[in-house]
Amino acid sequence: MGFNLYDFTTFTHNLHIWFLENMSPGLATTVEWVIVGVLYIAFVALLGLFLIWAERRVCAIFQQRLGPNRVGPFGLIQTIADFIKLMMKEIVTPRKVDKYLYNLAPYIVICCLFLTLGAIPFAPGLQGLDFDIGVFYLSAVSSISVIGILLAGWSSNNKYSLIGGIRSGAQIISYELSVAMSLITMVILAGTMSFSGIVEGQRDLWFIFKGHIPAVIAFVVFLIAGTAETNRGPFDLPEAESELTAGFHTEYSGIKFALFYLAEFLNMFVVSAVAATVFLGGWMPLHFGGFEGFNHVMDMIPPFVWFFLKSFGLVFVLMWFKWTFPRLRVDQILTLEWKYLLPINLFNILLMATVVLTKFHF
């Protein structure tokens, strides 16, 4: 079948041809969709469990203590136990909620998550949707989660949830702008919007080294705006437990709350995966221009291992932000975006355009 750990394109191509030979084209397409869907759902479930376990262990390391280490080896089964508990909980629906919107909100957030996850290249040939306008698609689709959050806040019929939902909505809409602009900066450097094209363009040097100053500025801005997008870290005022119960998901219990929780962690993974792809080379190993021997050694590690190493490294950095900094107040969050990040982004785009036009990059 041509299964090659380093390049999945031949394997998927052969699989596609095998399906077309044995069934009608319509059935083959449907079967392929079902397989890809099941793979993604399994990936999301496993990654969610792993990330929640990792968050608790990493949080404990920062606080000089041990995290969960009794349930299973190194506490790996702890999250499974927590999810079994959450699924067995009674789903308490308050009396006067808007039932349709209340039940719809978690699913919108999860759907948005799957849509964004589909566009990210995990390895050569292992990408769900390979558009020519990948970056544009990503920023468009990641805005859908705002609707889910606003619906959750509104339909819960609770003053606290409403305040939390509106705050969260304002925050996400503002930071979308910074995220999109820092991605545009890198698109200027790459010359293409498709993710596979961006990764291919980093074959001789990662973009963060190639476009030196503007790329580093764009990276920092993207990380800050990315944490604000996912309501994490120092920007988690909408769900600040010490101030307003639990924000927009106060009234959700059981499996619906689990969906919001999972979506938050996986959005964090998506942000770091996108940062790893656009700035740090995605699945491309670390290559330096002329050093063939070094490049050959780096090539020995399979690409998907590179991808996951980079993504989890950035996830660690995002967790580091969360456990170190105090929370920002809502007006300070918006000040940061509109008065600081936006001018820096605009200036950075100009700078990157100048650098590309004068070919002042590596």
């Binding site: 920062f62 203590r65 010490s242 105090p326």
Partner: protein, 377 residues
């Protein structure tokens, strides 16, 4: 029909209610059981009304049926973070009423333990404040450092929180021979760790943006409300009882009162951090010179105060704590009243928080360092 037309024409006939939020008795950020009724307009606070009494235990009434050496263990449970100073207040009141002078060794031990207790109280305050602000790691760093002090307490007193070490006439046990070494080791360790607190929280731009200029209380208001302790000194109110009415071994030490002039939350924060440094200086001045002697005077079995009213003030970590005992010659007091610093500090909250946002309210309350059993007794 005409009433309906009237309502829609003139808008002042429309009935509006204020948006009242209840930060209920169980809430992760109010330190203890405190109910706050906050009247909001959007995000701006119009009025804050604290409701207290959820942990009222009737301590003052209980004291009326106990002998004088039995009152001391109840004061542990009032402001449990400065339990030793509360105990000392009652013992000093009784000793002044009987006009007896305790040995110097007792004074030195009491003062050293006071200052250690002050450091541990400020450590817990810092931990809880960081956690309220959102930096959860501060909680663990503060408590990790506090364990050293609590181990010293456990070694000497036998208990970590509800101490009951002072009795009228002295203290219950003598200190152990390795006490001085342990305290010196702790001071050396903590002098290295305290700059970390500044690097982690005080210097952080997010923190300074959230606390500078927030919750300003002018000097006149501070004196009018009777806000004492570091919260009062942040506005310039020189109210340190250790300086103005020294007791125990404080006349033998040189230290400074930490004053500031801005009166905002950041000033209250830095006053407490500077107090921790100053406490370490006081301990270093005293620890090597503990005089030999008895650790307690021989008191009669049943202590009876002469008739009259007696008052004693001490400086706890929250502020000015006062004990008032009225005696009618019998072996139980006639009336005991405690002046708790948290009570006066808390009721200045309304003045400080008007016109600010809810997140600021949490920041102000954290910097005031409220302990509810102290307020409710």
């Amino acid at each position: 029909m005409s009433e309906i037309k009237e309502i829609f024409i003139t808008s002042d006939k429309i009935k509006t209610d204020d948006y009242v939020i209840n930060m209920g008795p169980q809430h992760p950020s109010t330190h203890g059981v405190l109910r706050l009724l906050i009247k909001l307009e959007g995000e701006i606070v119009l009025n804050v009304e604290p409701h207290i009494g959820y942990i009222h235990s009737g301590i003052e009434k209980m004291c009326e049926s106990l002998a004088y050496n039995q009152i001391v263990h109840l004061t542990d449970r009032m402001d449990y973070l400065s339990a030793h100073m509360n105990n000392e207040a009652v013992c000093l009141c009784v000793e002044n009423a009987l006009q007896i002078e305790v040995p110097d060794r007792v004074k030195y031990i009491r003062t050293i333990m006071d200052e250690l207790m002050r450091i541990s109280s400020h450590q817990l305050w810092w931990s809880a404040y960081g956690m309220d602000m959102g930096a959860t790691t501060c909680f663990f760093y503060g408590l990790r450092d506090r364990e050293y002090i609590l181990d010293i307490f456990e070694d000497t007193f036998g208990a970590r929180l509800t101490l009951n070490y002072n009795t009228p006439g002295g203290v219950m046990f003598d200190i152990k021979p390795d006490f001085q070494k342990k305290v010196k080791d702790f001071i050396k360790y903590f002098r290295n760790k305290l700059p970390e607190y500044d690097q982690l929280l005080s210097g952080n731009i997010i923190f300074t943006e959230r606390t500078k200029g927030v919750g300003i209380l002018s000097l006149e208001d501070t004196i009018a409300y009777g806000v004492t302790g570091p919260s009062g000194r942040a506005a310039g109110f020189s109210c340190d009882v250790r300086k103005h009415h020294p007791y125990s071994a404080y006349p033998f030490v040189k230290f400074e009162e930490m004053l500031d002039t801005t009166g905002d939350t950041y000033a209250r924060y830095t006053c407490r951090i500077r107090e921790m440094w100053e406490s370490m200086n006081i301990i270093e001045q005293l620890i090597d010179n503990i005089p030999e002697g008895d650790y307690a005077l021989k008191m009669k079995g049943v202590v009876k105060l002469p008739e009259g009213q007696y008052y004693q003030r001490v400086e706890t970590s929250k502020g000015d704590f006062g004990v008032f005992i009225e005696s009618d010659g019998k072996k139980n007091p006639y009336r005991v009243k405690f002046r708790s610093p948290g009570f006066s500090n808390m009721f200045a909250l309304n003045k400080m928080a008007k016109g600010l946002k809810i997140a600021d309210l949490v920041a102000i309350m954290g910097a005031l360092d409220l302990v509810m059993p102290d307020i409710d007794r």
